[in-house]
Each structure stands twice: as C-alpha cells, then as structure tokens.
Symmetry: C2
Subunit: 439 residues, 2 copies
C-alpha cells in the first residue's frame, strides 16, 4: 500500500508524538522520579510537537532536565516539520532526493511549486540555526544575570528555540511564563523578534532576503507582510486601549512597560503563547479580542498556527469584492484565482466547525465558564498555548479533546489543503446548473 504525502505527514507527526510520550512518561523524565502518567505525557508531547504550549503540568517544576530536553527536541522537530529534518539527514548522507520525497516535502513546507523545495529546506535549517543562535546568545546574556551562568545559558537556549518555533513552552516555573519580566526590555524585544520571524514562514523570509524590494516580492509575501503588520499594530492599539487602566495587568506599569506589555500581548496571541500578563486578569473584552488574534494566527509554512494571515486576508478581500460589486478578487495588480479564494473559505469554515464541536463537547465534560472553555479551544486549535487557567484542571476526556484539537490544528489545514490541491478531474455526469436562494 502506497501512502499519500498527506498521510505520511500525519503518520510522521503521530509517531514523533508517540515516541515523545513514551520518553516523557519515564520516571527519569520527572523531577520527582515518579512518572507523570501516560495521559499527561501524551498531552505534553502533543503540545510540544504541535508547538502549542498548553501545559497540564508546569514544565520546569515537573520535568527533569532530561524531560525538558525531550520537550525542546519535540518543539524543534514539530516546528521545522519532521520532513525538513528528514531533508537534513538526506543532505548529510548525500543521498539523491526523489520526486516523491520532494512532493512530501512540498506539503510539509506548504509550498506552491516543487521546484526549489530542497533549496528551501536547506534554507529553512540555516535560517533556523541563525535566528535561534542569535536569540540564544542575547537571551543568555540577560538570563545569566538572573539565574547565574549555567541555568542562564540553558534558559537562553531553551527560550530562544521555544520562541522561534512559536511553541510557548518556558522553563521559568510555576506556570508563570514571562510574567516576572513584563518590563524587561531585552527579554521582551528578543522574544518578540523571534516570534515574529518564526511566524512569517520561511518562504517569505527567503523572498525578502533575496529580492530586497517590496515591489518585486511574490504576491504571497506582500500579503503576508501587509497582514502581519496590520495585525501587530492593530492588536497593540486595541490591547493597550482595553488594558491600560486595568490595575491587574498594565495599570500599575511604567508608561514604557505599558507599551511593552501591550505589544507583547499582540505578538504572542498570534500563536506564540508566552505571556507577560496573566491572561485571566485581562478584561473580558481583551480576552475576546485575543481569541480573534489566536484564530487568525501566523502565516503559512511557518512555525505558527491558526487559519493563517493570508487566509484571513483573502476572506476580507472576498467581502470587499462582494460589497463593491467587483467581478474578481484582485490586489496588488494581481487577480486571485477562484479556487484559491474557495480554499480559504473551506479552511475557515472547517476551523469554525472544529472549534464549535470541541468547545460544545467541553461544555459537557468540564465545569467551567463558557469563556474559559472557548478560549482554551481556540488556543488549542491555533496552537497558541495561552489559557485562562483551566488546562491543569481539565478532566481526562477534556485532555483528550484538547490533544485532538492541537493535533488537528497543526496538521488539519495541511491535509485540507492537500485534498483541495489534488482535486480529481472526474465529472462522470455533467448535471445542469441550478441556483439556490441564500441569505
């Protein structure tokens, strides 16, 4: 039986998660020397591999250094896509890469053309090492002052890898994430930069570095950069406006600290999942707005999740086209093919159905306020990792539901995209057309 590329990818993710689960369930992975249990290990392995960052146990408090390194490896494998890892191995071994393998990689990186996939994979690894290296160096300098030499360097490396892969895992302890460093400029700026670069998608980074002119970028790169800028600035303004007088979050910070914390929230909500302010202390409005950012997420082919910036952009463009009675969806002197717009619609509708179904089931299994359940579900779907605090208190069925959602959130859009890309050209009977009234 020959597996389809999408099936290989899904299976690959599942195998990585399973191996991670078995390792994390070992007593030696736990600081106490007692296993965290299969379900908690599965939750952690899924959360790490799908670069989500939701945690049922605190990473630093619960897991030993061995366990933490397993988590970091899962993040790196999940973030880059295990197929890129496979490419690395191929390159190292000097093996020739077959067309079939290229096809699989194309899916892994969500690229449009087969040409240049191997080149891109090489670029991905180089880029990752570059950003993670610089990030680790800068963060280490800062963390050494806080934690001393060895733990400082360790924290620098861990958080740099975690941030660039938009994973949201931290080794600060006590579920605190970066809240102790809410006004620390070095940590804030370095982590935000890593998150943003990691969330752009490698093809965009590559495009920017090789063309160096907005005008000559691909349409995709233009849209991703435009949408990312709009979302970051808009997110910052809204969060600042909503929270600047809230004494539990920004209210008691310095003017500079307020700006930093609002910016960090805007950046992190789009799938990073670290936090410098306690999410459950935010106003209801800010929580709701954060859910929108989490739903949109990062850009395709990146370490981030969500329905993706370009998908949301196409949807807005579609509405603009409809309202202005235009015949085609056009932007930046380019026409977007209809099947491309159609694909964006399908992705968003499927995402909404998934979120509805999972959150509905969670209202049956969990005793918690609606907003907590919805926030948790959107966070899991968008592989964000922010939480209003219910993750550790989820029932066993609830944990399984969130595990499935994280997995679907990471590999789902990929498989939907593939199904649409390989649409069969069979139409045995040409039925007559007939319209249906809508709206």
């Amino acid at each position: 039986m020959r597996l389809k590329p999408a099936q290989i990818l899904v299976l690959g993710f599942a195998v990585v998660i399973l191996i991670g689960t078995l390792l994390l369930a070992l007593p030696v992975a736990s600081k106490t020397g007692r296993s965290v249990g299969f379900l908690n290990a599965l939750f952690t392995a899924t959360s790490a591999t799908c670069v989500t960052g939701l945690v049922v146990v605190d990473t630093y408090t619960q897991y030993s250094i061995f366990g933490q390194i397993i988590i970091l490896l899962l993040i790196q494998i999940g973030g880059l896509g295990f197929m890129t890892m496979a490419t690395l191995i191929f390159l190292i071994l000097g093996k020739k890469i077959t067309l079939r393998e290229r096809l699989v990689m194309q899916e892994a990186l969500n690229q449009l053309a087969i040409a240049g996939v191997v080149k891109l994979a090489r670029y991905v690894i180089f880029t990752t090492l570059f950003f993670e290296g610089v990030g680790a160096f800068l963060l280490s300098l800062r963390f050494i002052k806080i934690y001393g030499f060895s733990r400082g360097i360790y924290a620098g490396i861990f958080h740099s890898v975690s941030a660039f892969n938009n994973s949201g895992f931290d080794v600060i302890g006590d579920f605190s994430s970066f809240t102790p460093f809410v006004e620390d400029p070095v940590i804030n700026i370095v982590v935000m930069a890593l998150i943003i670069f990691g969330g752009l998608g490698f093809s965009v980074i590559c495009d920017v570095f090789t063309t160096r002119s907005f005008h000559r970028l691909s349409l995709h790169s233009k849209i991703v950069l435009t949408m990312t800028a709009i979302l970051l600035i808009f997110g910052f303004i809204v969060i600042y406006f909503l929270e600047h007088e809230n004494p539990k979050t920004l209210g008691n910070l310095s003017p500079f600290g307020k700006i930093m914390a609002a910016a960090f929230q805007s950046v992190t909500a789009r799938t990073a999942g670290f936090n410098t302010i306690n999410q459950s202390d935010m106003t209801l409005s800010a929580k709701y707005f954060t859910m929108l950012l989490m739903f949109i997420g990062a850009s395709p082919g990146s370490t981030g999740g969500g329905v993706k910036t370009s998908t949301f952009f196409l949807l807005m463009l579609m509405i603009y086209t409809a309202i202005t009675s235009r015949e085609y969806v056009e932007i930046y002197n380019r026409r977007i093919p209809w099947d491309n717009v159609f694909k964006a619609c399908v992705i968003v509708v499927v995402a909404l159905l998934l979120i509805f179904t999972v959150s509905f089931l969670l209202t049956l299994t969990e005793k918690a306020d609606f907003i907590l359940i919805l926030f948790e579900t959107v966070s899991a779907f968008g592989t964000v990792g922010l939480s209003l605090g219910i993750t550790p208190y989820l029932s066993d069925v609830g944990k399984v539901l969130i595990i499935i959602t994280m997995f679907r959130g990471r590999v789902g859009p990929l498989t939907v995209a593939l199904a649409l890309a390989t649409r069969k050209k069979i139409a045995p009977i040409k039925y007559p057309e007939e319209k249906v009234l809508v709206g």
Copy 2:
C-alpha cells in the same frame, strides 16, 4: 436621484420603524399613561418590524391595547415585507405594476426571477391569511378556556400572527412567554406548526402545493425541506438529551411534556423566539447549541432570519466537495454554480464579523457574563428573540447596538445578496493570476 431597489427596501424598513417608534412613544400606547421613552419605543418598534422579539419591557404589562396593536401591525408589515403590502395596495387599486416595481418586489421576496413576482405576492397574502386565520381559530378555542372570551380571542389572534411571522412577541405578561403552557398540547402544536410554515418561505410552500411531488420540486425547495427536517429532528434529539434530566427545565415534566418541550425548543430556536422553558435555566451546552440553531435560522424569503438553511446547506456541501476532492458542488442531480456557493460564503463570513464586532462592543458596554452577551447578539442577528435575560438591563449604548444588529440581521443579507446579484461586469485591466498560500 434614483434609488436602487435595495436602498428603497432599507429606507422602507427604516420609515416603518420610525413611524412605529413615534406611535409607541405616545403616552396612550402605555398602560401607565406615561411614555416608555424614545429609546425603548425605538427598541420595541425595531424588534417588532424586524420580527425579532427581544423586549426591553414586557409587551402585555407595559403597553396598552393600542400599543399592542401597533406592535402587531409592525410584526405583520415586517414579516410579510412592506413591499408585499405595497403590492396588495396596487392590486386593490387595480394599478398596473411596472417592471421597476417588480424588481423591487423581487428583492423584497428574495426571488430568483422577475416572472411570477406579482403572482407570488398575491399568493403570499393569501397564504398568510389562511395560516393566520386557522391558527387564530384554534388558539382562540384554547385561550378562551384560560382567559375568558374577549381576551381569549385577542390572545388567539395576537399569538397566531406573531407565530406565523416568527416574531416571538407574546401577550402573556411578565416576560413569561409560553412557559405557563409548557405541557399544553394544543398551544404547543399549533404554535410550532405556524412557526415551521412561516419559516419555510412562501416560494417553497407554493412549490409544494403546486407540484405535490418531492422529485419535481425546485432544487431550492428540496434543499430547504431537507435541511429544515434535519435541523428540527437533530435539534430535538440534542435538546432532549441535554435537558431531560435538568430539574429546572425538562426534568420534572411528564414523559410527553419532555418530548413536547424539547421539540418546542428545537422549533423556536430557529428564529421564532417564543419559549416554554426558561432559557437561562438550561445547561451551558444547551445554550451553546441553541446559539448554533439561532445562527442558522429559517429559510430565505420567509418571515425568519439567520444565515438561512440553504446557505448553511451549501456551506456543508462545499466542505463535502472539498474533502472528497470533487470538482463541482452537486446535489440532487444538479450542479450549483460557483457564484452561488461564493454568495453563501460571503453571507456567513459577514454574519460572523457582525456578530463578533457587536458582541465585542457589548463586552465594553455591559457588565454581564460572556455567554449572555454572545447569546443576545446571535439572537438579535438571527431575529430570534430568545434571551438569557439581559435585554431589559441593557445600557443605552447596548440597546442601540442591539437595535442596529436586529436591523442588519433583517435587511443585511438582503442587501448583500443584491450587491452580489447586480455585480458589475467591469474589468478595465485584466491582471495576471497569482496564487496565495492559505492554511
């Protein structure tokens, strides 16, 4: 300046609401002899004309018989569409109907072809009188036993008109809706029948009565009947399952009462807005599920609201097409044109954006739990009228937001539909196509 058909419709609705507001704000419209105030009158007039049924004051307790009759007239005008009323006047006066007037009516009734619009309008009025007449007779028989002769007949007529127009207004008193009659078979069955027929859309009723064979029905009628049946049965089963052990709702009812109450909730959620069980006593899961039913709503060209059964059906069909890698959206041996599917997508995305924006703004203006705010917004958008109880306690800004939402919920999809129907065929420059990565 020549107004477009859509503009005439929107303006017409606005004028009807304004006249209604002025009449309801009169001291004589109030039982106390003191005006309810402009904002409350505006809210009531909008809710009645848009056949929503959300109420800031109890209809029976607050308004005089004069006020209640104004409300009933607004419901009838709003439900039938004021353009059908205009047709009636034309027919009575024996005037010739111009093409332009036919075009406007076509929009009012959301029909696909101009031919047969006048015939349909005549049919609409006949059908309405027939259903409302039979309903009023049956309900009067029952209400006379409860309220005595004159109030019994009045209640029979009021609730028949209110039910067939899916308005949700009642004259029972104390915001109780039909909760006193949760186990009353006559009231339940008659009201449910009126709601279902009113929510099918006149063209479907007409189609069924003239063809009398499912096979020969139009594709639109087939889809509406299929989806309506699925939603009613599915809704009943889910509500029954969620609530049958809840002592505050179905738990203490007789076995027959449980079935009746679950069926009524399934029927009413799809834009009628009456209730036989207290909505805020339901489980969180049932509230959430009710929101889904409210969002989907009734069928096009009917007295109901929501994104519409056929729209939701096309969306599901679109996903099925995508997942099964089919090339065209097909059902019942017919192919659905792409612009039709596209229209369904636009309607749903615009609806979601509206609901998000309004509920987000309400989190800023109201001090209430998130579920209450979201439920209220979806109810207003779907012109349903169910509430978890915050309507009378809304702030002034909150009332205005809900007024706008009810209005948009009723006329919005219509204008979107029109904008799409009259799409200009201008394409001054043919830009080259370029794809964008999504998902």
